[in-house]
Symmetry: C2
Subunit: 401 residues, 2 copies
């Protein structure tokens, strides 16, 4: 019998795996924030969403306010079937789709579907820090696969797979962000995508393809999704409205094998993904409005990327390097060996500058000479000052060595 | 290495525990539906929600459409602190609260916090069928505790606890719906609430208090919550806006120990519970509007309960009995031994009548002579015809014996 002072002794492994969360979003007043992967709030369609809500309340009957179907509002599923076919080149039908509370819930449901405590999974590293928390919640052991300028290092992936096989370990899946990766900004090439799909068949693992930034491509040609290359057999493709419509509506989707999609519907305890938000988003998106919005956003974020890259070129010390993303929100900066990002960060905060330090994107604490700049949330007229501040601080820390 | 035909061989225990879900809500056209616990769609505040959305878009800045704080929109948390103090008599502060996607996600998060595969939990039986699915998802072994007209049979609970202790099993929690229970309609008395809290301290288990129907009391005095009786130490109290505002907004809450609440925030993969819906709901609810709406809903559902009970009195065969709820949505009907609900159900469906058969509310398939009538979703002018249809079918099945 446990202590009489509380319920701490009763917690599950999940309950023990996580720490407390009290995180608050957003930047402090007057601070230049390159840290969060937040969409630009000046571009949210406030009036149009109010109008879409009014139309929804007038014309959709009870369903925006009632309990909904477990796979999500059918109008939105049909909209996604069309959108995915037209933009992503993914041919699917309603039964391949599950509506989720953003891409983060999509990844969590996939982890629930595949992972038991102690199972091994493969992930790009660096990768989205939210994935680390989700993997920890389910008690996964994560094997890291490094990246280079062409995306996932497939040679390293294959080596890892061979090692694991020799040790009798079958990884459940490989987690990949193929386009404008978070945090590195790099895009995995077609040849590498093909090789990853081959390896998945050869070694029998699933692929979790997180394509949160797909629609925000500024340069280069669209590449086929791993889902399409695989024929939708062992790839689960997921995306989100967070970057292209509004993060606060918490709407995303998973595309996959119908039986597996049905199982994830059963794992989704809260039932239908927010019918109110789903109906309003549908009412906003239809009639070409989402397409028009995406076109506008590409212009906004391309200009911001270009300005950021220009400022970096002009202001950074010579021994600092960075990636050039073809889309998305992120530039990944490599500092000189003499500059530890953990020494840089408190000085930056004191100076009114926020960025994301490298180690939060790795599973093993590496990345001490790297940082992520997210240009999506910084006003254009603040970019030059932000980059200058960062350059000055790098020089200062470097000179202290 | 598994089969090359797919990923079925890679599923987790959770993935295997659930079946596929493709459930669709709502009734067929022209059918009288006593089955779903759906709120009355004629009472949804369509226009007011459109107006609240317009105000929200004009006055809340970026936050309804942006990533939000992990514990939920603070304005709504503060609203709940006040509401819970005023109505439920629960004294708490913001740090005791987590906003969730309805009561169902609240229960799922509590299961994630406490339950590992194979752990034992205690639950009232009959109980909400959604709880059964959530318990199965986490691989819990469920021990049933029966009810009578005064709610949980605490003698049976204590006996079960003694048995389990003798077998060396520590149950993680007891799941209870104390007010107008789903499906039985009964309310657990104050004396029994006190005894349950004592037993929780003595045997060291948590209490999950699901109070989805609290606000919809038609008769009798409000009783103290188990949370209050326990002082908030080992009770987690949860509720929902689904019955008092709109199920489609998927908003609920958990009240509990701050450290445990913080852990559940960390387990909640999708981050902040729908900031868009949370801001709009807050904007709708404030300035006394939710209170006024609850007053109206009590009138609506009381009238519907009274009509249902009157029709049952008038039309049912003598050997049929039912409960008289002091609130909520449900009447629990006991059929004569000669009538198996599984024989009644297909005939009812053919005749255009829907209800929920007893066995879906039990963990062991019992309840074959019981059914739940939810009067919340049936138009007043359909109640008499619905009850008459049911009475006729009961007589028909009974005479076939």
């Amino acid at each position: 019998m446990g202590a009489a002072t509380g319920v701490d002794g009763l917690l599950s492994q999940r309950g023990h795996n996580v720490g407390e969360s009290r995180g608050l979003p957003g930047a402090r007043e007057g601070v230049i924030s390159f840290s969060g992967g937040f969409p630009d709030p000046a571009r949210f369609p406030y009036t149009e969403i109010a109008e879409a809500t009014a139309r929804t309340m007038q014309t959709h009957g009870q369903w925006p306010l009632q309990y909904g179907p477990s796979m999500g509002y059918e109008g939105m599923l049909d909209f996604l079937v069309e959108k995915l076919g037209k933009h992503q080149g993914i041919q699917c039908s309603r039964e391949n789709l599950l509506l989720t509370a953003g891409g983060s819930q999509a990844l969590a449901l996939l982890c629930d579907l595949f992972v038991d405590q102690g199972d091994t999974v493969l992930s790009e590293a660096p990768t989205w820090m939210g994935a680390g928390r989700i993997f920890r919640n389910v008690g996964a052991e994560v094997e890291s696969v490094p990246l280079d300028g062409e995306g996932t290092r497939v040679d390293a992936l294959e080596e890892r797979l061979r090692d694991l096989k020799a040790r009798g370990v079958t990884p459940k899946f490989f987690y990949i962000i193929p386009n404008f990766q978070n945090p590195s900004g790099v895009t995995t090439t077609l040849a590498r995508r093909q090789r990853i799909v081959e390896l998945a068949a050869e070694y029998n693992f699933a692929i979790l393809e997180d394509d949160a930034y797909f629609d925000l491509r500024f340069a280069g040609e669209k590449l086929p999704t791993l889902y399409t290359l695989d024929g939708g057999r062992r790839v689960f493709y997921f995306g989100t409205f967070s970057k292209i419509l509004a993060a606060g509506m918490r709407l995303g989707w998973i595309v996959g094998d119908p039986a597996m999609i049905g199982r994830m519907g059963g794992l989704k305890a809260e039932g239908s993904t927010n019918p109110f938000a789903a109906h309003v988003a549908f009412e906003y998106c239809k009639d070409g409005r989402l397409d028009a919005r995406i076109t506008d956003l590409i212009e906004t974020y391309r200009r911001r990327r270009d300005l950021t890259l220009g400022e970096l070129d002009e202001r950074m010390p010579e021994d600092v390097t960075w990636t050039v993303p073809d889309g998305g929100f992120f530039v990944w900066v490599t500092l000189p060996e003499s500059v530890d990002v953990q020494r840089l960060l408190p000085k930056a905060r004191e100076a009114g500058l926020e960025f994301s330090p490298g180690p939060i994107f790795y599973f093993d604490g590496s990345g001490r000479h790297r940082l992520r700049l997210s240009y999506s949330y910084v006003e254009e007229d603040q970019l030059a000052r932000g980059v200058q501040l960062l350059a000055d601080l790098i020089r200062e820390v470097s000179s202290e060595q």
